[in-house]
Symmetry: C2
């Protein structure tokens, strides 16, 4: 795992150096669909990451947000979101991140979350503590619903009646809510600043890198039924908590 | 106005030096009401700002979020939000800001918006261009609804049926939406990264400092009926746009 941790650190530097060229500059932007922008920076960053991964581990697979799946033969897959929070990036707000996960046989075993402007870098790897800027971090003990701090990304992601009902329950139960989270929220939770992150529409390229970071910091992340998330089983409905007791409470509340 | 601009710069340094001591540290937090936290950092920052303003301009009034109104005799009032975005501050996310406005006979004539961690500082003053980190900035020309970038803070601020209906109209009309804005959003708009900021519950201590910043960058900020915002007329329902044509279109859309 030490090699992997070092390599994730290298990938963070590579992506940061590309992203910094575009941040708050004029860049080409297209809409993949209404309200879903992609920029030149997303594409160039993913290109640079894919190039370096292929060079270093030619037998590994790659799955990226912008360029899809490249199959490998090793059973290992690098899962990449070059810029999570493209909207934040577009409005010049440094809450976007680069997320990279390494899966072995579909199970996330190592992950990187990097915010290159503020300089916030989390790296998690199985059987290791999660590191934030080189130092081990852990989540906050907070089992009490009324003191819990919830981070969400946007209200619009809760689309079905079931999702809207779950959202309302979680929102009413937690101490306070803050929006505009994106994947950055999971790092802030790993560092003990927030207690819950709740989403309905995370994609595999968002989440694979986050699982080892949260688990290595002592937190827990599952789907809304409490099941583990893997590359093949990733519904997008995600509940992450810093404290396992809080996670149990919120799962029970949603099931009630 | 040059003296005022220099003094706002000094106040930004004072608030930044207090806030940096608390950012991502353990600090005392209370709830003013459910979901409305206030921290030691909010209070200490406002104390430091009030002290310096009183020292420099003993005849001026002060109106602050945490310590209320101190009356003056000069017709000038300094309106302070020591930490706007206390929730963001609490979860360690550098999207909170210090906002300070100077009003003359109730009219906002100068303002500061400062994000001390990223190092983003906007200063606006009547008959002057808005400065971002010492350089003049201007808003983006974007009259087309479908290309417009909307920043909001949270969905929960739209409470009445009228507010909810207006929120839906604005949301449907704009190109994309991003949440978690807080007052920082107005600076990003002044710098031309976003096109619309839409809120239902801004307070006087949030907004007075923002008006000169937006106007000095070529943008426009009014209430939902298109009326100017002053210290005495500040309903909280606020529409700010980088492009006056876009502002007209959105006002018409809300009235329809």
């Amino acid at each position: 795992m030490q090699e992997t941790i070092g390599f994730l650190d290298e990938l963070a530097d590579i992506s940061a150096s590309v992203i910094r060229n575009y941040y708050r500059q004029n860049f080409v932007m297209e809409a993949k669909s209404k309200g879903d922008p992609v920029t030149e920076a997303d594409k160039k960053t993913e290109e640079a990451l894919r190039k370096r991964i292929t060079e270093k581990y030619p037998d590994d697979g790659i799955q990226g947000e912008e360029y899809g799946v490249t199959k490998g033969t090793s059973g290992r897959v690098w899962v990449i979101d070059p810029i999570d929070g493209t909207r934040a990036f577009t409005v010049g707000r440094a809450t976007f991140t680069t997320v990279i996960g390494l899966c072995e046989n579909g199970v996330p075993v190592a992950g990187l979350l990097n915010q290159p402007i503020v300089g916030d870098r989390w790296i998690g790897a199985k059987n290791n503590p999660t590191f934030f800027n080189g130092r081990p971090v852990s989540t906050r003990d907070c089992a009490a619903l009324e003191h819990s701090r919830l981070i969400l990304t946007s209200p619009g992601q809760f689309k079905t009646e079931h999702e809207k009902a779950a959202y309302k329950k979680i929102q009413d139960a937690t101490g306070f809510q803050i929006y505009g989270g994106d994947c950055y929220a999971y790092g802030l939770m790993a560092s003990g600043f927030a207690d819950v992150v709740f989403e309905a529409s995370l994609k595999a390229h968002d989440i694979m890198g986050l699982v080892p970071i949260i688990e290595g910091a002592g937190g827990i992340i599952t789907d809304w039924r409490g099941k583990a998330i893997t590359l093949d089983r990733c519904s997008g409905q995600t509940l992450a908590c810093g404290d396992a007791k809080l996670h149990q409470r919120l799962l029970a509340l949603m099931a009630a």
